[in-house]
């Protein structure tokens, strides 16, 4: 046995904006893991996108050295967690790699649904939880109230709660002391066969797919043969290292420690989050519990605006997939959009991130079709079909009925908004399950809702109708039969497959009308009249017309105007490049997502 008593593995649980990244920065700065001059703000969020959106997408880990008040030197491993419902599974695996968690709650906002869900996950994993009440420097801060709330809502003993301001650095040392004192040391058997939990993976251009691991038992070092439990694949370790937070090569990783393993693994798919790594020569008997294969919940079509970019898009998706095992894609053809890919994502945020990265990092101009969920089609001949795109729905005469995926959603909301939220859930075809006052002022509503409704504008609506006070968490709750129909959109008489959607029959009329009038606003005037129709089967339920463009002329053009005129024409031309030519009609990117924002009207 080696001495594990100076190691502490912990993570931070926090709602978006409650200051997790800033707090992590303070801890790193205090312990000197990174030179002050190398500190970029929010060190853990490395992707530009992460810093911009203020969220963690890709996990990071960092090892810090801390001299405790007791005079001993401690090694603290901070394992970051993504703060979004799309990545709940990733969070659960990071939690499983730790013995303790800092629960960071904003001193003026209080607990949010997402935080609550993650705290429960942490409690399931038997983590020691240290409540940290952050942003006490804000004028609106009420740390005592929030402390009481944590006690009431979670039932957590908050006598050890720490008041802090990650912004000013107040409370940083107290947090580090609390980690040392409260978080249990890891327990592991150094002599036992290797058993390591993959809590994340990352692709390195030189070393291949890296497994970010917590060693539970045994040890691993260069040259050792390892085996992945889920796939049975074996690899030879080429390097092991730790996070400082930049990678540093070490001789070996032992039970209780956190680090990375490089083993010339070509794809991150072969080092799956939640899987167990063991030794090929002397494997452990059982894998760790809790491994799940990532299942996409949301699908959409991605098409290059310029058909010549098809291969570039394919390459870019393949590159992204190297680092994102939960992204799946396969070729798809649309009569309106040409050749593209059907892509599956963990959720809407995941989808947006992939889309943005493709456009930004790979310089692609894309059309994204409205997201769809997976429907189960029961055909009249008794066969069952799973479809992830409305275009794949067979002729209605061949369909007995459809099933759609549902989620169990918990919505945490101040009591004055309960009525508003219930209305919204009702609107979105929700079935009321439960209502619970967790404090006299805060309510958790539980609804069973169609996932298809959630991925439309549910979250935006929830936020806007509750002035941002409501928070949402959900988990999949199976498929159920539902009265669904396919709504087709026709431009100039032609069905545009990429605009079709599957909607509940009771809403089809409203959706069709709203969609058609939205499209009328989005589709610019062409040189000819463009009728827009919504239809169910052969029945047209709504119609609008985009009138032909009649006048677009600059009458004054003299010496000083020519340069300006040129820019105007260039802009006009550029605008066209962002449009997809569908038959004779130029359709802007936004039109394909129009169905998502219908309720703005």
């Amino acid at each position: 046995m080696t001495d594990l008593s100076n190691i502490r593995n912990f993570c931070i649980i926090a709602h978006i904006d409650h200051g997790k990244s800033t707090l992590a920065d303070r801890l790193i700065e205090y312990t000197g893991a990174v030179e002050k001059r190398d500190m970029t703000s929010q060190l853990l969020d490395q992707m530009d996108l992460e810093q911009e959106r203020g969220i963690t997408i890709k996990l990071q880990a960092v090892k810090m050295k801390y001299f405790g008040d007791d005079g001993r030197e401690y090694l603290l491993n901070l394992i970051d967690t993504p703060g979004h419902v799309d990545f709940t599974y990733e969070v659960s695996r990071s939690l499983a790699a730790c013995e303790g968690a800092l629960l960071v709650v904003d001193a003026s906002q209080g607990i949010e649904a997402q935080t609550l869900a993650n705290v429960y996950l942490a409690l399931e994993n038997n983590l020691e939880i240290i409540p940290v009440i952050n942003k006490i420097d804000l004028p609106s801060a009420d740390p005592q109230k929030v402390k009481q709330e944590i006690e009431d809502v979670i039932g957590l003993d908050t006598s050890n709660a720490i008041f802090t301001s990650a912004k000013t650095g107040e409370g940083t040392k107290e947090i580090l002391e609390a980690i040392v004192k409260c978080v249990p040391e890891p327990i592991g058997d150094y002599e036992a066969p290797l058993k390591a939990l993959i809590f994340d993976s990352n692709f390195d251009a030189y070393k291949g797919a890296l497994s970010y691991v917590r060693i539970i038992d045994g040890s691993v070092k260069k040259g050792m043969k390892i085996r992945m439990f889920a796939t049975g694949k074996e690899f030879e370790v080429t390097e092991v290292g730790i996070f400082e937070p930049l990678h540093r090569v070490v001789d070996s990783l032992k039970a209780g420690e956190v680090g990375y393993i490089a083993a010339s693994i070509k794809k991150v798919v072969d080092t799956r989050v939640g899987d167990t790594i063991t030794g090929a020569a002397n494997p452990c008997k059982e894998p760790l519990e809790g491994y799940k294969k990532a299942v996409p919940m949301v699908y959409c079509g991605l098409y290059p605006i310029d058909n010549d970019q098809y291969n570039d898009l394919k390459d870019a998706l393949e590159k992204l997939q190297l680092n994102d095992a939960s992204l799946i894609f396969e070729p798809e053809t649309s009569s309106a959009l040409g050749f593209g890919f059907r892509c599956g994502f963990l959720g809407l945020l995941h989808m947006e991130i992939v889309q943005e990265r493709l456009e930004r990092e790979y310089n692609l101009s894309l059309i994204t079709t409205a997201p769809s969920v997976v429907f189960i089609v029961h055909k009249t001949d008794g066969t069952i079909l799973k479809i992830d795109s409305p275009a794949l729905l067979p002729d209605t005469r061949l369909v007995e009925y459809l099933e759609e995926p549902l989620v169990m959603a918990s919505i945490m909301v101040p009591q004055e908004y309960v009525g508003t939220v219930m209305d919204l859930c009702q609107d979105k075809r929700g079935v009321f399950i439960n209502m619970e006052y967790i404090t006299p002022k805060r309510v958790v509503l539980t609804y069973k809702l169609p996932l298809g409704e959630i991925i439309y504008d549910f979250f935006d609506q929830l936020k806007s109708r509750t002035k941002g006070y409501a928070s949402l968490d959900y988990e999949l709750a199976g498929h159920e039969r539902s009265n669904l129909v396919k709504l087709d959109i026709l431009l100039a008489g032609e069905i545009i497959d990429a605009l079709s959607c599957i909607v509940h029959k009771d809403k089809a009329y409203f959706r069709g009308k709203a969609l058609v009038s939205k499209l009328k606003k989005l589709i610019p005037r062409q040189q000819f009249e463009v009728p827009i129709q919504a239809a169910i089967g052969s029945k047209v339920i709504a119609r609008e017309t985009v009138k032909a463009m009649r006048k677009d002329v600059l009458e004054k053009c003299y010496g000083g105007d020519i340069s300006r005129k040129r820019k105007l024409l260039e802009k006009q031309k550029e605008g066209k490049k962002r449009m997809k030519q569908v038959g004779r009609i130029e359709v802007p990117q936004e039109a394909f997502m129009a169905v998502l924002s219908l309720d703005d009207e």
Binding site: E555, K556, S563, K573
Partner: protein, 374 residues
């Protein structure tokens, strides 16, 4: 890509009052007149090139007729000294009827101006007030009378349409009155609500009731029909002239020829270089240099594209042979896709000799021209 017709534009940035629709560069600080013209003389002195074959001179603004005529005279003398004007064909000055009298018009004539461009805008008294013009209807008649008596035989007026609460009746009445005057040239502009104008403020507040697109199209149609009855030909999108009275200076722009712009905020294009002068009046007056702003080095490609979109503004269109001789480009080949597309929607006419816009093509000319950009 050589061409040997060069024009000179002189910018006079002073106005007695800014009109409600105007976003042209102008100020009301006449106390800066003296310093401004000093600087302008210096600029001409510095930048002039006696080897250039100057065809036209154009004084625009602002309101050139609102400054003391002696300043205009000094500039004209300086131009005569520094440029070869032996082939000069046209010398124009813009005047506002509210600032014209016997003496300044006589002076312009004496200095050698042979064309007046009068900012009439409308004959309708109410509309003149609404536009914030400083003149009334009788000022227009007075100015034209004076100019004729002095000897001007090439007079142009500007008219506007598509004004707030505009209608066909008002436009027809303007056109009738304009035709009665038996002038040589008319420019007609639909109102555009430009940012940072009084009208833009009003527009944002919902105070301007502007004609819809259908009415605007009808108005342009009526202009085309009415002036044609009086021997005016439309030779450019917004310009009509009796035979031989087309604006030679403005044709320099549309034929993509060279021009000097002297004075604050004016643009020059000499061969493949285009730039703007200092746009701020105080900076223009006070700086010791004549800085070139927004300097563009026009590539062959840009010159060709501009040759096309400027050429399409002219009703005669682009002469394919001339274009080939000048740019060494076969338009038909180079722009085959754009041409096919535009022929398909009947926006252009193409034959062995010319490429030109149809009436429909003119109304959607931005759309058409954009097709020729790379």
């Amino acid at each position: 890509m050589m061409n040997n017709k060069t024009g000179i534009y002189i910018h006079i940035p002073f106005c007695i009052k800014k009109c409600n629709y105007c976003d042209f560069f102008s100020v009301t600080q006449y106390e800066l007149e003296d310093e401004y013209f000093q600087k302008l003389l210096m600029e001409i002195e510095t930048r002039a090139d006696y080897t250039k074959n100057i065809k036209t001179i154009y004084f625009g603004g602002g309101t050139p007729s609102s400054v003391r005529p002696e300043y205009i005279r000094k500039i004209v003398l300086k131009l005569k000294e520094k440029f070869n004007l032996s082939n000069l064909e046209e010398m124009s000055i813009e005047v506002n009827p509210g600032t014209c009298n016997n003496s300044n018009i006589q002076e312009y004539w004496d200095m050698g101006f042979n064309r007046l461009s009068i900012g009439v805008q409308t004959f309708n008294e109410d509309m003149l007030k609404k536009l914030g013009r400083i003149h009334n209807k009788s000022d227009i008649y007075k100015t034209i009378d004076i100019a004729r008596q002095i000897g001007f035989t090439n007079i142009s007026i500007d008219l506007m349409y598509g004004l707030p609460e505009d209608n066909l009746e008002r436009l027809c009445s303007d056109l009738d009155l304009a035709m009665d005057l038996n002038l040589q040239h008319i420019s007609t502009y639909g109102l555009i609500i430009e940012p940072e104008t009084k009208f833009h403020e009003d527009f944002k507040l919902g105070l301007l009731k502007l004609p819809n697109e259908e009415l605007l199209l009808e108005m342009r149609e009526i202009i085309n029909i009415k002036v044609a009855d009086f021997d005016f030909s439309r030779y450019e999108i917004a310009n009509y002239a009796k035979s031989g009275f087309e604006s030679k200076h403005n044709l320099i722009y549309w034929n993509n020829n060279d021009y000097y712009g002297f004075g604050v905020n004016s643009t020059s294009k000499i061969e493949n270089i285009r730039f703007m002068n200092e746009p701020d009046l105080n900076n223009y007056i006070n700086s010791n240099e004549f800085d070139k702003h927004n300097l563009e080095e026009l590539t062959d490609e840009m010159q060709i594209e501009e040759g096309v979109f400027l050429g399409l503004r002219l009703m005669d269109g682009i002469d394919l042979k001339d274009f080939f001789n000048r740019y060494n480009i076969d338009i038909k080949k180079k722009y085959k896709n754009a041409i096919d597309e535009l022929l398909d929607i009947k926006a252009i006419i193409l034959n062995d000799k010319v490429l030109k816009l149809t009436n429909y093509g003119i109304e959607i000319s931005n759309y058409c021209m954009a097709k020729f950009l790379s």
